[in-house]
C-alpha cells in the first residue's frame, strides 16, 4: 500500500517526495517545487487507512515566517504542579477550562499572547452552523450539531448575546429543486432537524432585499450568531471566577517525558508539572503534539478574508446567507456568504485559500475584491463603500479535514483537540464537554475527583448601557458617572464600560483587548477619535505609561517618546 502511495506521489506531484509509514500515520519528506505541491501531496496521502499525515515537505526558497513568541521571560512558575494544563486560549481552551471548573481541580490555561482569543477565535464569522456542511458521521458533523444545541444555554448563562437567525442556502438555478431530496437526506443524516426548500418568492417575503439572481434555496432554522471574541472572553472569565488560572504571554516550547508520560512542561515563564495536558493550540497543535513526541498530523493554514459592513446597512439582511453551486459544493476552497451579526453588522466572507504561514493575517486586494464582488451582489443596496473594516484568519486544517478529539495513543496524560477549523466555534461546547470527560478519565486514576462547590455557571457581562432601558441606564449613570461619559461615539461605549473591561477577571490593558470586550473602537471610524481617549483611561487605571500602551502587546505600542520632556532635562 505504501509503495503504491509513494509511486502515485512521485508520479502525480513530484519526484522528490519520500513517504514512510510511522506508527499509524504517514510521513512525507523531501523537497518540491511549490507550496501547491506540498498541499496536493498532503491530500493525496490522507487516506482512510491512516490516522493522519505528517507533511514535512519543503520548498526551496520559500520564506520561513515564524509565529509570534512572547519577548517576556520570567520565573512565574517554578515547577508548579497543576491537575490540568490547557495549552491554547482560543474558544476551545477557554470552553474546556470552564467545563473543568465544575470540579475541584487545579486548572491552568496558558496562551502565548497578551490576551486570549487572538488567533482563530477572534478571526471568524461567529456563526453557529446548523451542521449541514460536514460529512455525515464525521467528528465535525457530530460535534457541530450537538454544539449548536448546547450553545444557547451557554450563551444565556454567560450573558453573551445570541440570536437564532437561520441560514438561507441560495441557488441561482431552478434545477436545484430537482435535487432537494438530497439536501433533506443530508439534514436527516446529520440529525439537524427539519429544513425547508423554498422558491424565490417565499425567500423574498422573508428577506426582501435578495437579488434577482437567486432562484430558490434551502432554509435551515437552527443557525445562530454569537460574537466569538466575547464568548471566548466570557468562558475564560467564568472559569477564572470558578477558580481556574489563566497565564498569558506564556509560550510552551518543550516537554520532558518519562516513558509514556509528560512530566514537565517548559515555558518562557518557568516550568509546570501537570497531571494531564490538553493540547488545543489551534494552528500550532501539531507543534505541541511534536513536543510530546506524538505528532501524527500537520496543520496547514487555510486563510479566510472577511469584510465587515457598516451597521447602517443592518436592515438589508436578517439571517445568514450561504451561497452554493454544484461546482464549489465539494471544494475545500469554497467560501463566502453573508452573516448578520447580533450587533447589526453584516459580515462578508470568509474566502478560503491555502498559504504557508500560520499567523500571517495580511489581506490582499485580489481576494478582497473577489469576495466583495461575489457576495455583495446577492443583496440589493450593498456596496464596497459600506465596508468599515476587514481582516483575515487562518483555519487550522489537517489533511484529513476532520476534528481530532481524542486521548493520545502513545502519551498517557495527553489529550489532543486539534484540527479545529470551521465549524469549530459552533462545536465548542460539545468539544469541551468531551475533552473534560477524557481529562476526568485520566485523572480518576491519580486522584479523587469532587465537585467544585464554588462553581457558578453564570457570569455577569460588562453592562452594555446602550442596550438598557432608559430609566435603568439613567440609574446606572447616577451610581457611576463614568457610564454617562461616551468615549466611543460610533458604538456608544462609555468610559465606565472601558474601566470595567480594564478591571475584569482577565484584565484588558491593550486596545485590542478592550475592543474585544466592549466594542470600543470597532465602529465606522475605527478608533480614529477614541483611541487617544481610551489610552488616557488605561493610563489612569493601570500603572502603564502612555508609551507602553499597545495595540496587542509585545512591540505594538502606539506612541514613542513624549515631545514635552526633552532628553537630559527633568520634568518638574
Amino acid at each position: 500500500m505504501i509503495k503504491e502511495l509513494q509511486s502515485k506521489l512521485k508520479k502525480s506531484v513530484h519526484q522528490g517526495i519520500e513517504c514512510e509509514e510511522k506508527r499509524k500515520h504517514i510521513v512525507l519528506e523531501g523537497v518540491v517545487d511549490s507550496y501547491d505541491e506540498i498541499i496536493r501531496a498532503g491530500y493525496l496521502a490522507a487516506r482512510d487507512e491512516y490516522k493522519g499525515v505528517v507533511n514535512r515537505l519543503k520548498v526551496d526558497g520559500l520564506e520561513d515566517k515564524s509565529i509570534r513568541i512572547p519577548t517576556l521571560s520570567d520565573h512565574q512558575f517554578k515547577d508548579d504542579p497543576c491537575d490540568v494544563l490547557v495549552i491554547g486560549g482560543g474558544i476551545i481552551g477557554c470552553a474546556i477550562i470552564r467545563w473543568l471548573s465544575k470540579y475541584n481541580l487545579d486548572i491552568l490555561l496558558v496562551d502565548k499572547e497578551s490576551d486570549i482569543a487572538m488567533h482563530q477565535s477572534s478571526r471568524n464569522d461567529g456563526m453557529v452552523h446548523p451542521g449541514f456542511a460536514p460529512k455525515p458521521g464525521s467528528n465535525k458533523a457530530v460535534y457541530n450539531v450537538k454544539g449548536n444545541q448546547m450553545f444557547e444555554k451557554m450563551a444565556g448563562d454567560l450573558e453573551v448575546p445570541f440570536k437564532r437567525v437561520g441560514t438561507y442556502m441560495l441557488f441561482e438555478h431552478y434545477y436545484y429543486a430537482l435535487i432537494k431530496e438530497l439536501f433533506f437526506r443530508r439534514a436527516e443524516h446529520n440529525n439537524m432537524g427539519t429544513i425547508e426548500f423554498l422558491f424565490k418568492d417565499e425567500i423574498l417575503k422573508r428577506e426582501p432585499f435578495v437579488t434577482d439572481k437567486v432562484k430558490c434555496g434551502i432554509y435551515m432554522p437552527t443557525t445562530a450568531v454569537c460574537p466569538p471574541y466575547e464568548m471566548t472572553v466570557a468562558l475564560a472569565e467564568n472559569a477564572v471566577l470558578n477558580g481556574a488560572r489563566v497565564s498569558l504571554e506564556t509560550y510552551v516550547y518543550k516537554m520532558q517525558k518519562d516513558k509514556d508520560k509528560i512530566m514537565k512542561v517548559y515555558t518562557n515563564r518557568g516550568e509546570i508539572i501537570p497531571k494531564v495536558v490538553i493540547n488545543c493550540a489551534g494552528l500550532s497543535a501539531d507543534f505541541i503534539a511534536e513536543l510530546a513526541d506524538d505528532r501524527f498530523f500537520t496543520i496547514h493554514p487555510r486563510k479566510g478574508q472577511i469584510a465587515i459592513l457598516d451597521k447602517n446597512k443592518a436592515d438589508r439582511l436578517d439571517c445568514v446567507l450561504s451561497i452554493i453551486d454544484l461546482k464549489t459544493m465539494k471544494s475545500r476552497t469554497k467560501g463566502g456568504g453573508l452573516v448578520k451579526t447580533v450587533e447589526g453588522n453584516i459580515v462578508v466572507g470568509p474566502s478560503a485559500y491555502e498559504q504557508p504561514y500560520k499567523e500571517d493575517y495580511s489581506t490582499t486586494k485580489e481576494d478582497m475584491d473577489e469576495l466583495l464582488e461575489k457576495n455583495l451582489s446577492y443583496i440589493k443596496g450593498l456596496s464596497r463603500s459600506d465596508v468599515i473594516t476587514y481582516t483575515a484568519g487562518n483555519r487550522a486544517a489537517t489533511y484529513k479535514e476532520d476534528f481530532i478529539i481524542e486521548k493520545s495513543d502513545y502519551v498517557s496524560n495527553l489529550i489532543h483537540i486539534a484540527g479545529i477549523q470551521s465549524p469549530g466555534y459552533a462545536s465548542s461546547p460539545a468539544i469541551a464537554e468531551k475533552a473534560c470527560e477524557y481529562a476526568l478519565e485520566i485523572l480518576k486514576e491519580k486522584m479523587k475527583i469532587t465537585d467544585n462547590e464554588r462553581y457558578d455557571p453564570h457570569r455577569k457581562s460588562i453592562p452594555r448601557l446602550d442596550k438598557f432601558p432608559k430609566d435603568m441606564r439613567s440609574d446606572m449613570i447616577m451610581k457611576n458617572r463614568d457610564y454617562g461619559h461616551i468615549i466611543c461615539r460610533c458604538e456608544h461605549i462609555s468610559k465606565g464600560e472601558i474601566i470595567d473591561a480594564i478591571h475584569s477577571p482577565i484584565p484588558a490593558v491593550t486596545l485590542d483587548a478592550i475592543k474585544r470586550r466592549t466594542r470600543g473602537g470597532m465602529g465606522r471610524c475605527q478608533g480614529g477619535f477614541c483611541t487617544p481617549l481610551i489610552m488616557e483611561i488605561i493610563k489612569e487605571e493601570t500603572d502603564l505609561k502612555m508609551e507602553e500602551i499597545s495595540k496587542k502587546g509585545k512591540q505594538s505600542h502606539i506612541l514613542y517618546q513624549s515631545t514635552r520632556v526633552k532628553a537630559g532635562r527633568n520634568d518638574d
Binding site: 473594516t389 476587514y390 439613567s474 458617572r481 480614529g528
Partner: protein, 419 residues
C-alpha cells in the same frame, strides 16, 4: 419634566460657536460631546486661521478662544460631555432630543429648531482599502495631530504620509519639527488635494518630496509597522507592475479625505447629497426638514475656518426668523451642474419662497483648470459670468449673488467654460 429651549446647537466647534453667538432674542442651548468647546481647532496649533474674518493670522485655539470668551458672557446653556442618543422630530417646532451625560444621566430636551454643527470625520485606512498586515503605527492625520499637539507624544519616528490632504501636509511639517523623519507624501491622483500654500510651507520648505500618481499598496509588520510598499499607478489608479518599492518606516499617516459627520441627520431622514456626503441645504442652510439647519464641515468640508464661521452665522439668522414665525413653505429648486465640471455646489437648493435671495455659493471644480469662466444661468439666461485665472479642486470658491424672484419651474444651472 422636559426642559425647553427655542434652539439647540449641536457641536461646539467654530461653526456651532458662531451660530450660537448670532442667535438673539431666543433661548439657546449647545451640546458638545467633548470636554471642551472648540471642535477640531483645539488640535490645530499652526497659524493661518482668521485671515478673512479677523484679518489676522491666528492659531486654531486662538481663533476659537475669541468665540469661547464671548460665549462665557452669554446665557446660552452649554451641555458639555453630552452625547445625543436620539432625535425625535415630532412635528414642526416640536423636536425632542435625548441626551446622555455624566451629570444628568439620560434626559430629554424639547426645542423648536436644531442647528447641526457636528463637523466631519476622517476616512480610514480601511475605507481606502489598504491591504497587507495591520500592525500599530497606521493612523489618520487627525489622530496623529491629536497625539502630537494634545497628548504630547510622537506616534512615529520615520513615516510615510498617504494622501495629500491639508491635515497630512500640516502633519508632515509638524512631525519634522518634532524630530521625526517624513520620507514623503504619496498621492494616488496626479495632483495634490491640499492647498498650494500648504504644499509650499509644509513640504517644499522642509524638502519633503510629494510623489504624485503613487500610492501605498501594502503594509508590513506584525506588532509595529516595519515598512510599506509603494508603487506608481496609471490614470485608472491601477498599479504599474515593476514600480513597487519597499520603504522602511514605523508610521503610515493617512490624509485621504474627510466626510461630514452625518449619522444623526441620516437617522432623522434628512436628505444627504451624494457629492458632499452632508445634508442638502438651501440658501439659509436649512436642510430638507423644516426648522433643522446645518453648517460648517457637517455640510461640506471647508478649507478655511472663516467660511465655516460664516455658514454658522447664515444658519443662525435664518433660524431666528424661523423661531419668530416668519415662516415660509419649503419649495426648493435644485441647482443643476455637471459632475464632470464640479465636485459639488453648496447650497444645493434654493428656496424660492424665502425673502432672502442673497446667496453665497461655495463650489469646487472637479479638475484643475486655467483661464476658466464660471457661469450661472437661469433658464439658459446668463446671470453671472466670473473669470478665474485658475480653478483647482482643493481650493474652495465663493460667489455671492442676489437672485431675483424665482418661479416654480425655473432652471438654475452652473457651468464652466474654458477660454
Amino acid at each position: 419634566m422636559m426642559i425647553e429651549y427655542d434652539v439647540c446647537v449641536i457641536g461646539a466647534g467654530p461653526a456651532g460657536l458662531s451660530a450660537a453667538l448670532q442667535l438673539k432674542d431666543c433661548s439657546v442651548c449647545m451640546i458638545e460631546r467633548e470636554e471642551k468647546p472648540g471642535g477640531i481647532l483645539k488640535q490645530c496649533i499652526h497659524d493661518g486661521f482668521g485671515l478673512i474674518k479677523f484679518n489676522a493670522e491666528m492659531t486654531g485655539p486662538e481663533y476659537s478662544q475669541r468665540y469661547i470668551d464671548e460665549l462665557m458672557t452669554t446665557d446660552i446653556k452649554v451641555y458639555m460631555k453630552t452625547f445625543v442618543s436620539n432625535i425625535n422630530y415630532i412635528c414642526e417646532k416640536n423636536i425632542q432630543i435625548e441626551l446622555i451625560n455624566p451629570e444628568q444621566g439620560m434626559f430629554q430636551i424639547k426645542v423648536k429648531s436644531i442647528i447641526f454643527a457636528t463637523g466631519c470625520r476622517e476616512r480610514t485606512a480601511k475605507q481606502v482599502f489598504i491591504h497587507g498586515e495591520r500592525p500599530a503605527g497606521i493612523l489618520t492625520a487627525g489622530s496623529a495631530q491629536y497625539f502630537v499637539n494634545v497628548s504630547g507624544y510622537l506616534p512615529c519616528r520615520k513615516c510615510v504620509i498617504l494622501g495629500s490632504g491639508d491635515i497630512g501636509l500640516i502633519m508632515a511639517r509638524r512631525l519634522t519639527l518634532e524630530g521625526a523623519e517624513v520620507l514623503g507624501v504619496y498621492e494616488i491622483k496626479d495632483s495634490s488635494s491640499g492647498l498650494q500654500r500648504n504644499i509650499a510651507q509644509c513640504l517644499e520648505d522642509f524638502n519633503i518630496p510629494l510623489h504624485l500618481s503613487e500610492t501605498v499598496i501594502k503594509t508590513h509588520g506584525d506588532d509595529r509597522l516595519t515598512g510599506v510598499t509603494v508603487a506608481k499607478v496609471d490614470s485608472e489608479f491601477n498599479v504599474i507592475k515593476g514600480t513597487e518599492k519597499y520603504l522602511e518606516c514605523d508610521g503610515l499617516i493617512l490624509s485621504v479625505g474627510l466626510i461630514p459627520e452625518n449619522e444623526l441627520t441620516k437617522e432623522m431622514g434628512i436628505q444627504i447629497d451624494s457629492h458632499t456626503k452632508g445634508p442638502i441645504v438651501d440658501q439659509n442652510m436649512m436642510t430638507s426638514l423644516k426648522g433643522v439647519f446645518a453648517c460648517g464641515n457637517q455640510v461640506h468640508v471647508n478649507d478655511l475656518v472663516d467660511y465655516v464661521s460664516k455658514s454658522g452665522e447664515i444658519a443662525a439668522k435664518a433660524c431666528m426668523e424661523y423661531i419668530k414665525g416668519n415662516d415660509y413653505e419649503k419649495e426648493d429648486i435644485r441647482i443643476k451642474f455637471d459632475d464632470s465640471e464640479f465636485l459639488y455646489i453648496v447650497p444645493q437648493v434654493i428656496n424660492r419662497q424665502n425673502e432672502n435671495m442673497n446667496v453665497t455659493f461655495f463650489f469646487r471644480s472637479s479638475r484643475k483648470l486655467r483661464d476658466a469662466y464660471v457661469k450661472i444661468e437661469i433658464n439658459d439666461k446668463e446671470i453671472v459670468n466670473k473669470s478665474y485665472i485658475a480653478l483647482n479642486p482643493p481650493e474652495l470658491q465663493v460667489i455671492d449673488i442676489a437672485l431675483g424672484t424665482l418661479s416654480q419651474h425655473d432652471n438654475i444651472k452652473f457651468k464652466i467654460n474654458q477660454r
